[in-house]
Symmetry: C2
DNA sequence: CTATAATATTGAAATATCTAAATATATCGA
DNA sequence: TCGATATATTTAGATATTTCAATATTATAG
């Protein structure tokens, strides 16, 4: 597994803002429509819309349009993909027997 | 598991910059000293130092001082902690049987 | 078709982040 | 102690992000 430098930031930017983490927290209790989130979060509507775009771009959240309402939910597949990317980090190659990188 | 809104961004900011992902990529082949990273990455020394601080603050990387050299390596514990945080997202509560949030 | 309601987009200000040069600190060897 | 080397911190400019008001778009009801 090789980490792609361009795509990894797009995925994890979702988790780099306090408000987006709060939104994800809400979504853990199931699919929510934007109006619901707007009630609970005390942010402007355009701000919510911006954050939902970032979340959807990351793949961690899925948006479903139903009439004039947008319903958002956590994407299991997206979370799984992110887990794989993160796990790749922990997957360190076999240590090259104490080879020193600098003269001592 | 409950996601803490303040701490989660600190952890995942590590993965939100292309250069930091490249650094993590390098560290996958084992512990590296700063001078090594500096050679490979084509960025200023102060820039590297800044990124290493962000990485260490996230807990994903551990720094070890040896004389005048700093050695950096991926922290298995840190990656594990991040995995737990991320997994909490996928752990969605039992869906409340299609309860609609908006009038239709 | 028109009015209304939900969401998206645009524009602009405030704030944060990235970058590098200059400087500071720490360690080692002479 | 002095000079050289590795890394950290400070400062400042460039860029990106967050936020909200205003406006645009889309869908539904009448």
């Amino acid at each position: 597994m090789t980490l792609e430098e361009k795509t990894v930031p797009v995925v994890f930017k979702a988790l780099c803002d306090e408000n987006r983490v709060r939104i994800l927290q809400y979504l853990r209790s199931g699919e929510k429509c934007a109006c619901m989130l707007l009630e609970d979060l005390d942010i402007a509507q355009s701000t919510l819309s911006h954050h939902m775009r970032v979340l959807c771009d990351s793949g961690l959240v899925r948006g479903r349009k139903e009439g004039k309402w947008m319903h958002y939910s956590i994407s299991q597949e997206g979370v799984q993909r992110a887990m794989v990317l993160l796990a790749a980090l922990g997957d360190v190659e076999t240590e090259e027997a104490g080879k020193p990188c600098c003269e001592r």
